[in-house]
């Protein structure tokens, strides 16, 4: 066999292998319903927010039933993260990072509270109650009024106090890769 033939055979074998892997079946198609069940992320433009609504008044009740044990009365003094206050401290020696002083997006708050809270039983409250408790935390931080009805339209429109407090590293500001057209 000449080296040329051997090389050609080698290439053919490599191509065959690649074809086999590409043609192999892995997994099964995901159904629309099951994707909806797991597709819980909420983006800053509101994409992913569910129907439903809530106010701070109802949220206070939700908070006292589910959150106060760890986060303390009115979101302070508990064993878990402090949720309120701290505005104006970020450049000091003792910055206090809370929803009011640090979080840039109200949508991220909804996303996080729904996916991870209450800590012992995440994702178990109704979407109405998640809107309500988010409204309560924002109200404690004087970001929304106590009678504001939060829903999928209003939540993304809220401008958080520290919205412009972040700057992404230049390397990851605009993503480029060689797959792009």
């Amino acid at each position: 066999m000449s080296w040329l033939n051997a090389t050609a055979l080698g290439c053919a074998a490599a191509a065959l292998l690649a074809t086999d892997v590409a043609a192999a079946e892995f997994g099964r198609p995901a159904t629309r319903d099951e994707i909806a069940l797991w597709n819980i992320d909420v983006r800053p433009d509101g994409t992913g927010l569910p129907p439903g609504s809530g106010t701070a008044a109802r949220g206070q009740q939700v908070f006292e039933e589910n959150c106060v044990a760890c986060h303390g009365e009115r979101g302070q003094g508990g064993i878990a993260d402090r949720l309120t206050g701290g505005q104006g401290t970020l450049a000091s020696d003792h910055p206090v990072k809370t929803v009011g002083s640090y979080w840039p997006y109200a949508t991220s708050l909804f996303d996080y509270v729904r996916r991870a809270m209450p800590y012992p039983a995440p994702q178990t409250l109704s979407d109405d109650d998640y809107y309500a408790v988010v409204a309560y935390i924002l109200n404690l931080n004087e970001i929304v009024a106590s009678d504001t009805v939060l829903d999928r339209a209003r939540l993304p429109a809220i401008k958080m106090p520290n919205r412009n407090g972040f700057w992404p590293d230049p390397e990851f500001k605009l993503i480029r890769n060689s797959r792009q057209p």
Binding site: V21, A22, A24, F26, G27, R28, P29, A30, E34, I35, W38, N39, I40, D41, R43, P44, L90, A91, D93, P95, K97, V99, Y102, W103, P104, Y105, T107, S108, L109, D111, Y112, R115, A116, Y119, P122, Q123, G165, F166, W167, P168, D169, E171, F172, K173, I175, R176, N177, S178, R179, Q180, P181
Partner: protein, 423 residues
């Protein structure tokens, strides 16, 4: 000699060691890890040989070896009740070489350690893809694989020393949130081709199966596409639950919390998703009150592990040893100063020095008994050099909490006590 020794926890060890035993312990490389150095003055005193214990399904560590991780809640709150711990630090002062045993690999978990049955585990891949699919672990284990030795580091590593240097800490406390394992899994590029990710997709959300459903946006750079993997193996065995069993994302060189454990969802999109962890949590507050976001690479770093904090040394010969690593690439040079960063000497680097893996360095030193400070600094193949503390703090301030990679200084007093200092 050993007959009177009771095993003690790593916690009480530092406080309760007698001076004599500390002197003896510091004499060997792993001295502090082994309960007692042999003091037989004559070979006649060495215990006689005889049949040993029965063989077993799983070999255990020697009963003379006492090593453990340190569970911690927040900086300075150490040896907490495990239920209150948010991380566990690797015993860098008691490990040798560069590979971390899986059970000593550092851990950061946000909602405990789920106990997942792999037969019931599913991974949803969706978003900007041609084929939205559900994968089982059998599917994933039948795909092409790759293995790679690489470090993993929590962005909180070094957080003890942002504002002050607690004098009573070990290198396990200051730098124990980094480890190196061999990771095995499916190349991310294979999955990207399998589902036909849109060429316009630039970010991927990775989400865990833990109680807090930790989720991070991953930028689809060429580096991440080429080096990322869906890992199910760790040092030759299935992942430990603490490290994501049955499946985790592994991105060599990138901050620990991007390497989502208990991976169960990948969603492809064209912008970052702005989860809590990439906005409110793992962002670095600078002196001006603004925060760096998506500071994703672990910068070049190093630390001397022997001698290090809370050890006691004697005048005379020492083999200084430590670890260096960089999320940018391969460690090419580690220098050590034994005179408080006035003069520097090149150390010997143990080969192979793998890219994005911890690298062992060593250098001889004869201590004349006068108080001094020892410090290391590393350089990687991209030309990044580990900054001294003053330069680092001038750039960053003291509030960032994460991504501390300033040079670590150990002060040595006239009596040989080694203590943590800022510089």
């Amino acid at each position: 000699m050993n007959g009177t020794e009771q095993p003690v926890s790593a916690a009480s060890r530092a406080g309760s060691l007698s001076r004599r035993r500390m002197l003896a312990g510091a004499a060997g490389l792993a001295g502090a890890a082994v309960s007692e150095r042999a003091h037989a003055d004559s070979l006649a005193d060495v215990p006689a040989r005889g049949p040993g214990a029965s063989l077993s399904g799983m070999s255990e560590r020697s009963s003379f070896v006492h090593i453990s991780r340190i569970p911690e809640s927040t900086p300075g709150k150490r040896n907490v009740d495990p239920s209150a711990a948010i991380n566990a630090k690797a015993p860098l002062d008691k490990l040798v070489g560069t590979i971390t045993p899986a059970d000593f690999h550092y851990e950061r978990s946000h909602s405990g350690v789920p106990d997942i049955d792999p037969a019931q585990h599913r991974v949803l891949v969706h978003g900007m893809v041609d084929k939205e699919i559900v994968l089982t672990m059998d599917d994933i284990r039948s795909m092409p694989t790759t293995s790679r030795v690489a470090f993993l580091e929590c962005t909180g590593n070094g957080w003890e020393n942002w504002k002050s240097a607690p004098p009573d800490v070990t290198v396990q406390n200051t730098h124990g949130l980094v480890s190196t394992n061999e990771w095995t899994g499916v190349p991310l590029s294979f999955l990207i081709n399998l589902v036909g990710v849109s060429r316009k997709s630039t970010w991927m959300l990775a989400e865990g199966g833990d109680g807090s459903a930790v989720a991070r946006s991953i930028p689809l750079t060429d580096e991440i596409i080429a080096e990322g993997m869906l890992a199910y193996g760790q040092n030759g065995e299935p992942l430990r639950p603490a490290h994501g069993f049955p499946l985790r994302l592994f991105l060599p060189g990138f901050e620990g919390n991007l390497n989502i454990k208990w991976l169960r969802r990948l969603k492809f999109g064209d912008q970052p998703f702005m989860t809590r962890w990439e906005t409110a949590r793992y962002t670095q507050l600078q002196a001006d009150g603004r925060a760096r976001q998506f500071q994703l690479k672990q910068d070049v770093n190093s630390v001397i592990t022997t001698p290090s904090g809370m050890m006691q040394i004697r005048k005379g010969y020492h083999r200084i040893s430590g670890l260096a690593w960089s999320g940018h690439g391969r460690i090419t040079r580690v220098e050590v100063s034994t005179d408080g960063a006035r003069t520097w000497r090149d150390t010997q680097i143990s080969l192979p020095a793998l890219p994005k893996a911890q690298t062992r360095f060593e250098i001889d030193w004869d201590w004349d008994g006068t108080p001094t400070k020892i410090v290391s600094r590393s350089t990687d193949d991209k030309g990044n050099m580990q900054p001294d503390r003053d330069t680092f703090i001038a750039m960053t301030g003291t509030n960032a909490l994460f991504h501390y990679n300033a040079q670590q200084t150990w002060a040595i007093a006239a009596d040989g006590a080694v203590r943590n200092v800022l510089a």
